[in-house]
Symmetry: C2
Subunit: 157 residues, 2 copies
Amino acid sequence: MIFRYAVAPADRLAVRAIAESTGFFSPAETDVAVELVDERLRKGPASGYEFAFAEEAGELWGYSCFGPIAATEASFDLYWIVVAKDRQRAGIGRALMVESERLIRAAGGRRIYVETSSRGQYEPTRAFYQRGGYRIEAVLDDFYAPGDGKVILVKVL
Amino acid sequence: MIFRYAVAPADRLAVRAIAESTGFFSPAETDVAVELVDERLRKGPASGYEFAFAEEAGELWGYSCFGPIAATEASFDLYWIVVAKDRQRAGIGRALMVESERLIRAAGGRRIYVETSSRGQYEPTRAFYQRGGYRIEAVLDDFYAPGDGKVILVKVL
């Protein structure tokens, strides 16, 4: 498995395919995933979105998307880590987390924020980040919808 | 004093002038204020930025900027309330807060979020919102910089 950082137009379809493969994201969420790729293709680094793609023999297995938070000195958002359904449970998500942290540190980042939902569906997501050293710093009740709060996790590098 | 909601190209200069008049914002923050006006002029409602301008006889006394938070059912950000230096302490900020809340409620909003800095300079800002019924829901330590955290306030409509 290798990491690739340059974003290509073909990644629009590949990102949509692996996001859909997971069965985890709503159609609207999948659209947002593709929009971040579009933003990056259009604006380059000024988009604020950086990517790490994990692939082998040209097949995309997973990717992460992250970027600096405007108006902060050294805080980054880690927006997504997605692994294709048939490649899960092989450590690829963890490898993408570690690689993203390496890149963020190299870019001067000192704090990484992850935002997720308080719903039960996202319990494995929260556990994944907590195993990686992220801790829950805040919960905004009913942020997304009644009964669906926003959980903010942070890792200090 | 009347409220106006349509954004005009002349508001770029007027917003810069009143932001600078306060002596409160950094040049970078003032640039962001103008950029939000630009985004609204370019994209219209799709920008996600709504404005309420308080003025009399064509003179801008203050304004607020707010908008729906993507991927939420009924949450809004209240980004800024700014009042010209020589019009402060006359209730205009409070009037802009109340008017913004009315517009947000009419647009289906049920929760309003305000983000500000934990630094001492922003203590009057936090007190202003707390008097208006906003409560501190979370503090992200060192978010903006070491010693400069993000304070998240919320008001449930």
